[in-house]
């Protein structure tokens, strides 16, 4: 019984921890702030790709 309770407690802590983490990312828009940093790097990468550019 004690083992089951311990597992349930750990599971509850994990769920609460994940909720706090993801909700913080959500409410402070951290996902978009991170991807906004990635975009300029990606655009530089696209400029370097060899392309068969023509009409």
């Amino acid at each position: 019984m004690a083992v089951v309770l311990k597992v349930l407690l750990i599971l509850a802590l994990v769920v609460v921890g994940l909720f706090i983490l993801t909700f913080t990312v959500y409410i402070f828009n951290l996902d978009m702030k991170l991807t906004a940093l990635i975009e300029p790097w990606l655009l530089k990468h696209y400029d370097k790709i060899e392309r068969d550019t023509h009409l």
Partner: protein, 521 residues
């Protein structure tokens, strides 16, 4: 941070010159948790997409894929200020569209010769235009009708206002005119830049509406046919679509298109599947009509971008082929009925009832939400949502098989935009004033897409009639895909100036009047 509609200063979420917003809205516990749960679902959709190595490869190959970094922000832009049923309607639509676009991208990259190179799959793909009614695919359940232009240009500009600039500039560097519509010009730029996935057994292009579209399609089809070996059919639907004497020609074009697809894919037209799709088209039409009926009352429910974005997707790109959209139609109708019964409103005050006419700015699709939140102007319906309401044959009988050809022709002629910008004086001008009366509107917001020659020359005619009827007519100029010509603030200023100088009103939310979002996605 408020539960009540209209209690927040929504402009405070913007950071001057920033690409993204400072934080997301607190909408009260229930609505915030709902929005958060939908954000998790969107993150799940994106995670599922990037788990496939070929999609990651595509991310590093195609420039327009960078715009998909902004998917969650697009949803935030359209849900701004929404609560209760309106928030749920928006997520029902947007989350489904995101899922549908993710599947479209996945399929494109699966067949793409540069990425997945699944040859057997590619033989079952028919490429279609972005701005094309996909009715001719309703009887081919084993084929995939995929549009390359939808994710590369159309959706990209919804995600990121600057998405098309690179491609527009490239097309002009190659000598194409700068005064054609930037949408087909950007699509052509993608082709010139060798930035379109290459796949498919054949392609169907459509004479959409304009000089830019014909120009772009001509060059794109040359590359498809002569370099990629993908045969292209030109589906030339009549422009005078209200005339009886063009219908037989339109029907023959449909027969020819179906025969072309059968020839190049080896598949046969399936009437059972066609009529199942036709039934779903009728469900979508019935639901849309019910929403529009509600919008004629003092308590409109499915309106603004909730109506516009969904109709564009469901009517033209889906066209009864995807069962999930029928479920969404019914869910949206249920939410609308609930809110209507409770006489709910999406903003704290409705000051003006507006019909939005003309072709809207793609780089500022959330303008309709802004109109509501900033000035209390309710966008009851828009030109692109006023599409065919005719029921099509849905029972499989010998007579209906012949009628179905005419129904597909009718839908193709009446695809979004071309059913109003072409077809004569009545569909563009006269019917607008009929709608203003039916919807009890006191205002018309008239988009002036400056590169759209279909609407040039009508300016004075609109003004004369609005004056006669006592309707407040507000012109809003824009350049569809190019915010460098008229910025989002330039769009807003045209409304701000009218509301202050002509209407002598103060905004509902002054924080939204001037926003420094030039660099924003």
């Amino acid at each position: 941070m408020a539960k009540e509609i209209g209690a927040d200063r929504l402009g405070d979420f913007y950071k001057d010159g920033g690409k993204v917003r400072k934080r997301r809205e607190w909408r009260g516990l229930r609505d915030t948790m709902y929005d958060y749960s939908r954000w998790l679902v969107i993150m799940g959709t994106l995670a599922k997409f990037v788990m496939k190595p070929r999609n990651v490869k595509a991310m590093f190959r195609y420039r327009w894929m960078a715009n998909y970094l902004a998917v969650p922000m697009m949803v935030d832009r359209h849900t701004q200020g929404l609560r209760g049923e309106y928030l749920r309607m928006c997520h029902t639509e947007q989350d489904l569209i995101i899922d549908d676009v993710a599947k479209l991208l996945d399929n494109l990259f699966r067949g793409d010769r540069r990425i997945g190179n699944d040859r057997e799959f590619s033989k079952k793909v028919v490429l279609v235009d972005e701005n094309e009614m996909t009715a001719v695919m309703m009887g081919f359940p084993t084929l995939k009708g995929l549009s390359r232009e939808t994710p590369s240009t159309y959706v990209s500009v919804l995600l990121n206002q600057h998405a098309a600039e690179h491609y527009i500039d490239l097309a002009q560097q190659f000598g194409l005119a700068g005064d054609v519509c930037p949408m087909p010009e950007a699509e052509l730029g993608v082709s010139i830049d060798d930035d379109a996935p290459v796949l498919g057994a054949c392609a169907i292009q459509c004479n959409t509406t304009c000089d830019g579209s014909l120009l772009g399609n001509g060059v794109i089809s040359r590359r498809l046919e002569q370099e990629d070996g993908i045969p292209v059919f030109q589906l030339a639907a009549p422009l005078r679509h209200r005339e009886d004497d063009v219908q037989e020609y339109a029907a023959q074009e449909i027969r020819n298109a179906i025969a072309f697809i059968e020839k190049h894919t080896g598949e046969k037209w399936d009437w059972k599947h066609y009529f199942e799709c036709a039934r779903r088209v009728n469900v979508a039409t019935e639901c849309r009509q019910e929403w529009l009926e509600m919008n004629r009352t003092p308590y409109p429910q499915v309106f603004g971008s909730n109506l516009a974005l969904y109709t564009e997707t469901n009517y033209m790109a889906i066209c009864g082929k995807i069962p999930e959209f029928e479920k969404a139609d019914r869910k949206l109708t249920e939410l609308a009925r609930q809110a209507f019964a409770k006489k709910k409103m999406a903003a704290k005050e409705y000051r003006h009832r507006a019909i939005i006419w003309g072709v809207q700015s793609h780089y500022y699709m959330d303008f309709l939400v802004w109109l509501l939140n900033c000035w209390g102007i309710v966008p009851l319906t828009d030109m692109l949502s006023m599409v065919s309401t005719r029921r099509i044959a849905e029972e499989d009988t010998p007579e209906n098989r012949e009628q179905a050809i005419y129904d597909m022709a009718w839908l193709t002629e009446n695809m979004i935009m071309r059913n109003r910008t072409h077809g004569g004086y009545r569909v563009l001008l006269d019917e607008l004033w009929e709608f203003t009366q039916q919807f009890n509107a006191d205002m018309v917001i008239l988009w002036e897409h400056m590169s759209c020659k279909a609407l040039d020359g009508m300016h004075g005619l609109f003004e004369d009639r609005a004056r006669e009827l006592g309707i407040n007519l507000v012109w809003v100029s824009h350049d569809l895909f190019d915010p460098r010509i008229i910025s989002r603030q330039g769009v807003r200023d045209q409304i701000n100036n009218y509301m202050r100088s002509v209407m002598r009103e103060e905004p509902l939310d002054p924080s939204l009047e001037v926003l420094h979002d030039e660099e924003s996605w």
